[in-house]
Symmetry: C2
Subunit: 501 residues, 2 copies
């Protein structure tokens, strides 16, 4: 990712960075009980790998070696990841000192928040689990691809699942109740931004949501699924807020892309903010579970914002897109352009204003917003500015993920059906079809009940994208350049031998 | 469409209606030579049907009868539509005085614009056609679904193809040259907004675009196809501008959805702004060629604009979406909401501001923006305001179509492959699959070379959506309510017996 960020001039200017609609931040609370939930923040700039790798100091040094680029996976005999998930990673070829990818895999218990006056306690369906505590578990896998430093990725890998847990705590009873979610709740059944002063209002005490509240004319039905999506979206927002608040004390100058898969009550929720990618391979068929957010794919959103808020462009940029830079001597000629409401191109007469640098410029992996950044969603980057200027990038970035849902119960999965998550280091040199080919090829070499098989797939995917070190650098089997980026891959089995509890 | 617009309080307030980025309007010029291009504008509010129907006064009266709802099609023995295209329409069941749908079908010659100093005349590939005139033809079919009056739909049906022609005139040589379009042109090779004062600049005289201009580093390749898309997009913008300028003198209080199919150089360009729909049926398979633009499908664009420009909401609306109206007594409770960057739902504490009416409200056919309009793209509506207020709707509407491209040369089409265009009167009661079923069923009853067969399909589609008049109104075969809306349908054959010139 570092290659995608040209200049992250860190200036601690709070305020401007917060996107529109941001709400007061809330600290994550101790709702999670995952193995890595209590992992301590490393000292600034320390090299750090996912806790589940359980690397010894010697292994850690080896993982940090840009020359050998040894592939790292959970070792046999140590703790196995849930569902026998496969994981592998490798450091970059030297573009940054350390591996700026981070990964997290957790099983998190979401404990129902105590309801002070029992308003929700009489409802049916709230399961008692885990020694009398009411709640449910979710499984969680996530990849964070850092840029301009590893701090944001490290913090997000430690905290995002806790923010998701925190958002879901409000919904424990509602999600366990098969009837449609209540549109309106008494004000004391939730947390976060609730005003304690409102808690003494008497009129709601006996009101049981969903049963007592009458259905109104033209009331929209909202599904349980969309509540989970909303919880994940807001968890990303709170995570981004936390990075904003703590970026000075924790030394978090950069940002990260975030890709998370949450398994909850029979469904996978895949949330993506950035240019990592998730695909399901089912019976040989490829089902895309994410799309990338880049200056090219988000062009119209970015141009629309720039059109409505031209002051964000600092008199340096134009919201119009041109196929190349315009030279001053071309004034008065006609140049191809695209405005925010166009998908096609047309000619316009070049005016003075068109000599400014285009907001979106370049193609493919070289596309940049404000000549600075190649991804347009993610966490952090609150201090990112255009090089040598006072123009902030953050107002154009979105911390909100797109969440796609896959219902695991709608299909009988075989042991070869998997969900693959990979950072752009994987996808830059390998397409969906090639990944599916490697998955099927490797899995046939192992018994369906061999718990190592998904790790073997993850390793093979990383090795094939990294390539082999030759005289002219890291080369793939076809002699093309291998990925010089950090590469991280999860391979999650969708049907046996995983234990789905 | 009238049902979808609650209050079109016509006030002639120019200026506010123009969307962002609108440019000075340009009059369409006489580039077109289609049969209906010279059709006179009707007197205000006069009943008018497409010229190609060639209705006698008696037939016109019959077409205007809400009780009989006779289906209208081009008559045998009169002029046949290009490619033996089928067409049928029927008036609504009484919701508006006249049929507010309009249709147009033309073959338009795009004549190359004279280049004053011959800069473009030496290029290869510009075909000489039509008695020495340089240019090319395009085929054009369009449906316009008017609301709050038929004026905008009538004007658009008379002019949109001329605006498209005008935009394409600039591109005649470029589109006929197989080499990539030039990024930059000398300033005297185009029209419209070109400044005549610039024409005397000497330095460009000998410059031949595309050959002499060097290719720059990081120059983006632009295809011929995206030039045509850009031309169509800008034609819609100019059409909307013309309606804005002439709405007072021509009595055009309302607006219209627009769906146009352009066949040009082997490709179909299907441009849609509104809630009409186009599908291709090929070998029994359905290929969607458009999507609908409604408050629901465009929610995030509308909310984003409202968030950035809250003054457009006039203190009456909130940009947040709620599943129903909130009552003042619910202040302090928690209500489900969606913000502009969310796809899921979450709970928020109800504050004073949330008591305002939601910008987007209702579901499906009942979804409305600002409690007023059920479509969010189209032409006209420059004076539309929220009922009993001074809040303008137009800034939220977009006149830009989404253009989808279908390459006719990539597949060998049989006589049963068709492109179907229909206004929402068709699709409200009939889905894609049912339409495909009717198409296949009817076509088997006619010889492949029978030129009537596509008209028979169009008629059958209209009849089945209208239903039959029974005691309890117009009823479908399954006894459900038939469409009480105006219904218009084109059925365009993709492979024989059409003559594709």
């Amino acid at each position: 990712m570092l290659l995608r960020v040209r200049a992250a001039v860190a200036q601690l200017t709070a305020g401007l960075g917060a996107g529109p609609g941001a709400q007061p931040p809330a600290e994550p609370r101790g709702g999670g009980a995952g193995a890595g939930a209590g992992r301590e923040s490393p000292p600034p700039a320390a090299f750090c790998r996912p806790a589940f790798l359980q690397l010894t100091p010697e292994e850690l040094r080896r993982a940090d070696d840009h020359t050998g680029r040894a592939v790292q996976s959970p070792r046999d005999g140590r703790r196995r990841l849930p569902w026998s998930t496969g994981y592998a990673e490798v450091i970059n070829a030297g573009k940054s000192q350390h591996n700026e990818d981070q990964a997290c895999c957790e099983v998190v218990f979401v404990e129902q928040r105590p309801s002070p006056r029992g308003c929700l306690s009489s409802r049916e369906g709230s399961g008692e689990l885990d020694g009398g505590r009411k709640g449910f578990y979710f499984h969680y896998w996530a990849l964070f691809d850092g840029h301009a430093g590893s701090g944001a990725a490290v913090m997000a890998s430690e905290r995002l699942h806790l923010h998701i847990c925190e958002q879901l705590r409000e919904l424990v009873e509602i999600l366990q109740d098969p009837s449609p979610p209540p549109i309106c709740l008494p004000h004391d059944t939730q947390t976060g931004s609730a005003d304690p002063n409102q808690m003494s209002n008497e009129e709601d005490c006996g009101e049981v949501p969903n049963d007592a509240v009458p259905r109104f004319h033209l009331e929209k039905a909202v599904s349980h699924e969309s509540l989970v999506i909303g919880a994940i979206e807001n968890a990303f927002k709170h995570m981004d807020e936390q990075i904003r608040r703590e970026r000075a004390s924790q030394h978090l100058p950069g940002g990260c892309c975030a890709l998370a898969a949450i398994y909850l009550m029979g469904k996978f929720y895949v949330a993506n903010a950035g240019d990592s990618r998730a695909i399901i391979i089912r019976n040989g068929e490829i089902i895309p579970m994410s799309r990338e957010f880049t200056p090219e794919t988000e062009r119209q959103r970015l141009q629309f914002l720039a059109l409505l808020r031209p002051e964000l462009l600092g008199k340096e940029f134009t919201h119009l897109e041109f196929p190349r830079r315009i030279q001053p001597k071309e004034l008065g000629k006609k140049m191809l352009y695209r405005d925010q409401n166009m998908n096609g191109w047309a000619y316009k007469k070049i005016e003075e204003d068109d000599l400014k640098f285009p907001l979106i410029f370049g193609e493919g992996k070289k596309a940049r917003m404000m000549a600075t950044i190649g991804v347009t969603r993610g966490l952090g980057d609150h201090d990112l500015k255009v090089f040598n200027s006072n123009i902030h990038i953050k107002p154009f970035l979105s911390c909100f993920p797109e969440v796609r849902v896959y219902d695991l119960t709608q299909y009988e999965h075989c042991p070869d059906d998997v969900l693959v998550l990979g950072t752009d280091g994987l996808w830059d040199v390998t397409n969906d079809k090639e990944v599916a080919g490697v998955v099927m090829e490797v899995l046939t070499n192992y018994e369906p009940n061999d718990p190592c098989r998904y790790t073997m797939v993850a390793q093979e995917l990383v090795v094939r994208s990294r390539g082999v070190l030759k005289e002219r650098g890291w080369r793939l089997a076809n002699d093309k350049l291998g990925s010089g980026d950090d590469i991280s891959v999860f391979v999650i089995p969708l049907g046996g031998p995983g234990n789905y509890t």
